[in-house]
Symmetry: C2
Subunit: 98 residues, 2 copies
């Protein structure tokens, strides 16, 4: 494309990235579910692991290419961590009800 | 792999997905910056566009394959929207200072 992209072109690019993000976020949730089930099977009912979260955040902070500042990357991933923990705990509850 | 993956294997998979998410989130932020600059150049200083956010959320809700519930996908993307808006507004301020 030799022309400057229009706002509509750029929004279409954002929509495409949104869909890729959704796919990745969902794949991550599936892996987290497997980890949750493995922990539960090993008799480790505590899913919250602040040290593991801290390691992930530190790595992401180091790799962050910008333009988002580190604090923003942290906030987004903390939202993902919170959601993942809720999913693991909800799966435990469902397993208890079966 | 024929063996069941260990928790460590699964965590390595999460770390890999984290890095892909970081790349995509950063690429999305770059496109949003271009949109912000294009809007500012057109004399549209208002970056917040709730109708556009609503359309994105609706599409993501429709495409959501799970396991995260729709409300979780919404919360994660709202965090990304909030960060994007802050980035556009911070770029405007920087442009004013130049």
């Amino acid at each position: 494309m030799t022309q400057t992209p229009t706002i509509e072109d750029l929004r279409a690019e954002v929509d495409l990235i949104n869909r890729e993000l959704l796919t990745l976020i969902s794949r991550r949730a599936e892996v987290v579910e497997k980890i949750g089930r493995a922990k539960t099977a090993e008799g480790r009912p505590q899913h919250y692991d602040p040290a593991r979260e801290e390691r992930q955040l530190r790595e992401l902070e180091q790799l962050n290419p910008g333009p988002f500042p580190a604090a923003t990357i942290k906030a987004i991933f903390k939202e993902i961590f919170r959601a993942s923990l809720a999913l693991e705990e909800s799966n435990d509850k469902k397993a208890l009800l079966v």
